[in-house]
């Protein structure tokens, strides 16, 4: 079997002096969603790896911020950094996530970041 040839320098070349995720700036193209949009988390196939938590799937949230561009974890986890996406910070109502969440604390929220591929308009 032949040995693969790894470019151990590729991240150094891309990110030195710039930082990560800054090094992916302007690579994702136009963002599909904007601050204030209501989105739903899709329940996409996630076999082998994801960083989109099961507890978010099917729930709706409001886009709070467009935080940065980066390859999604599903790709970066195999060192595939060719297709960065926009990442969004999303705010969920806890009552939309957990059926037993008390009405007394109906104002409580949860915020987490997800890449664009996981989101659809709601």
């Amino acid at each position: 079997m032949s040995k693969p040839n790894y470019d151990l320098e590729h991240h150094v070349k891309k990110a030195t002096g710039i930082g990560d995720p800054q090094c992916f700036k302007d690579e994702a193209g136009e963002a599909k969603f904007k601050v204030g949009d209501k989105v739903r988390v899709k329940d996409l196939p996630d076999v082998f790896y994801t960083r989109t938590q099961a507890y978010t799937r099917g729930a709706t949230a409001i886009v709070a911020e467009l935080v940065y561009e980066s390859p999604p974890a599903e790709d970066e986890a195999w060192d595939n950094c060719d297709n960065p996406e926009w990442f969004y910070s999303l705010i969920f109502r806890q009552k939309d996530l957990w059926p037993e969440y008390p009405d007394t604390f109906a104002g409580d929220t949860l915020e987490t970041e997800l890449p664009e591929r996981w989101l659809e308009s709601a």
């Binding site: 790894y6 151990l8 996630d46 082998f48 790896y49 099961a54 195999w78």
Partner: protein, 143 residues
Amino acid sequence: MSSPTRNRVLGHLDYVGLLQPAIHKETHAPYPDEVTNEQYRAYTRAAHDVGGERDVPISWEEKEEEVWEHNTFVTCEVLAWRGVWNAEERRRRQNVDVGQTQYLGLPYYGRWLLTAALILVDKQFVTLTELHDKIDEVKKRYE
């Protein structure tokens, strides 16, 4: 307030919680038609995705770091610094590829360490034979 008696009875309260009747259904490679979609999702789940699972109140503790734990953390970061992997590759391997049993069965830094060992072999920087020989060599220093 701590005393041998207090420690004993508090330990007893923890221990009796483990005495429960249970019906265990062992699985030894079931047939495809015996596995529901719900079970498929559970078995193929990413072990790290624990948010929202039920658990009990515990005593929140700090911990002294072991020398090997500190060195392991540094090794993992330096391997990424020198381009052997990126942190996301590490997390995928360390927190999901290890599988459900090792995920909850091994110490936190135990998974970091095993994952660092395996990346060397997976990317063919080292053969598994070389790794085994090195472990053996190191072990012999302590005999």
